[in-house]
């Protein structure tokens, strides 16, 4: 019985790589439709394996009007969640999926954790916490301040979220 269960699990996970945008495009589309924004032409700016995809969106005049990011972000794992080290910034054995939408000046307009897999640090999915990022500029905010206070008990997830947002300034 156990063998059959594991065979089924292996089958389920044996498919080809799928881009995050393929999985979450409906979520992106919903936001743009709800806010009456154009999503006709989007171009990938950064694509890091299947864990990070950053797009710019242009309007009819070929001007960048917004950006969106779909990313897998390092999360807290069993055995401690106190500090984000260099390795954890890219380590993805515990992760969550993030959607961020920026305006043309790279101010955060929308931030949602689409899915959270880890058993630890899940407090970052709290709407109350995520609201604190609204309208923050990914360039100036993280350069000029210490960012949002990390959540106690969810430090790695909080810091990895901010680290991921800070990368968007350069791209």
């Amino acid at each position: 019985m156990v063998l059959i269960l594991f065979l089924i699990l292996a089958q389920v996970n044996g498919g080809e790589s799928e881009k995050l945008i393929d999985k979450y495009f409906d979520k992106v589309k919903d936001y743009y439709e709800d806010h009456d924004l154009s999503l006709k032409e989007y171009t990938v700016l950064l694509e890091d394996k299947t864990v990070k995809e950053f797009y710019s969106v242009k309007n009819a005049k070929n001007q960048v009007e917004s950006y969106f990011l779909i990313s897998q972000v390092a999360a807290c794992s069993l055995g401690g969640c106190t500090s984000l080290d260099e390795k954890s910034k890219t380590l993805s054995s515990e992760y969550f999926d993030l959607l961020v939408i920026l305006d043309e000046s790279k101010n955060i307009q929308y931030l949602k954790i689409l899915d959270y897999f880890s058993d630890y640090g899940y407090e970052v999915t709290s709407k109350r916490y995520l609201k604190k990022f609204k309208n923050k500029n990914v360039c100036s905010f993280f350069e000029e301040t210490d960012g949002i206070d990390a959540i106690s008990g969810a430090t790695v997830s909080s810091q990895a979220l901010e680290y991921t947002l800070s990368l968007l300034c350069e791209n």
């Binding site: 699990l9 299947t50 069993l78 500090s83 380590l91 897999f117």
Partner: protein, 381 residues
């Protein structure tokens, strides 16, 4: 009964097949993770007119190994050395994502009960030893073999866990007791006896308020026994003995945490109740009560913090009564109704290392009071 069992298997497989098909394109070294934590303790008990040796102990050294089979499927195991000479498997489970907010988890799982049983690394609790209630009512580290679902309902800031798992073994080499509760009866995943239906364990946590978290945990089921195993079902005397060696059991814990800046507060109340205790006590020559309970509240304050280094003072008040409600003919033991005041100091020179010290004052209704000095060092990386 058989058709019910097959229906459950079918339902389980149906749910599994609906899992999402996303692969996880990681480097080989990112699929593995390895962590460790451990604690070394010194304890000196002090009581009027009695001499006690101090005790030094490598309480535990635990290696945590994880492997990510795919984006949706993960294996985690914790192998623990206790007291430098005992080896246990503390966790060994597979978690598979079935869909958004729902994961299947199966294997040797930590019972989701209270605060410390699931988060028991030395950085999580401030005292050298784990809180008394998290040892003698919730028998941390309490793990049993089970299967169930867990996930987040992010729109409601809720985390849930629901498992069917084996219960403790109430009659074999050891029995249940008032002083230790179910601690000695944990099966720990070793040749587990399941003499009836599995128990149900569940936990719900709400984290929607700033800096605050609340949780409620429950565990309900019958204990297990080796009495009558392999004997004819039709022999009434044997079945009666078997029934006498089992009790029904229910545990509930509520907890809350608040942490903002250097200040933190944690509190937990746990209640453990047993049914059919009179029959069981007579049969097993045991002394379990109908109910036991405990409450503790900890307050911590980091008075120095710079980068990863900090100093913290803390205080904790615990009240525990392991004979809250007795059977009519049971003798009250006043020493099992006690309060504990703990004050202490933590120093963490860098992330991953903590030096702890505390002083505990144990008072009980039997007036066999004592104090205890504890020192310890903990690591995690």
């Amino acid at each position: 009964m058989k058709s019910l069992r097959y229906s459950i298997y079918f339902l389980l497989f149906s749910v599994v097949i609906q899992g999402q098909n996303i692969t996880f394109n990681l480097d080989s070294d990112q699929k593995h993770y390895f962590k460790m934590y451990g604690e070394v303790h010194y304890s000196q008990k002090m009581e009027d007119n009695i001499v006690y040796n101090a005790e030094l102990d490598v309480q535990r050294l635990v290696s945590v190994y994880g492997y990510q089979f795919s984006r949706n499927t993960q294996f985690v195991a914790e192998i623990e050395y206790e007291h430098a000479n005992e080896i246990f498997v503390e966790q060994a489970w597979v978690k598979h994502k079935l869909g958004k907010g729902i994961n299947l988890k199966a294997g040797l799982i930590l019972v989701p009960m209270g605060m410390v049983n699931e988060e028991h690394e030395p950085n999580f609790f401030y005292s050298v030893d784990r809180p008394f209630i998290d040892k003698n009512i919730v028998p941390t580290t309490w793990r049993e073999i089970g299967l169930g679902i867990t996930g987040l309902l992010t729109d409601y800031s809720l985390k849930y866990q629901l498992y069917a798992m084996n219960n403790v073994l109430s009659f074999d080499d050891s029995t249940l007791s008032a002083g230790k509760g179910i601690r000695s009866a944990r099966q720990k995943g070793s040749k587990v006896v399941l003499s009836g239906l599995p128990s149900i364990a569940g936990k719900l946590e709400y984290y929607g308020f700033s800096d605050t978290k609340f949780g409620i945990s429950t565990y309900v089921g019958n204990t297990n026994t080796t009495v009558g195993n392999g004997e004819a079902a039709a022999i009434d005397a044997i079945q009666s003995e078997r029934d006498s060696s089992i009790v029904s059991m229910a545990m509930i814990s509520v907890h809350g945490t608040y942490a903002r800046g250097p200040f933190s507060i944690r509190t937990q109340y746990s209640l453990l109740g047993f049914g059919k205790t009179e029959t069981y006590n007579n049969y097993a020559s045991a002394n379990i009560p109908k109910m036991m309970h405990g409450l503790y509240t900890s307050i911590g304050y980091k008075f120095y913090e710079k980068e990863d280094e900090f100093w913290r003072v803390f205080a904790r008040y615990s009240k525990i009564n392991q004979q809250l409600q007795l059977n009519e003919n049971q003798t009250k033991e006043d020493k099992l109704d006690q309060s504990i005041i703990t004050v202490g100091l933590n120093y963490s020179p860098t992330n991953g290392v903590i030096f702890k010290s505390d002083y505990q004052i144990y008072t009980n209704k039997a007036k066999s009071n004592y104090n205890q000095l504890n020192l310890g060092v903990g690591i995690w990386f």
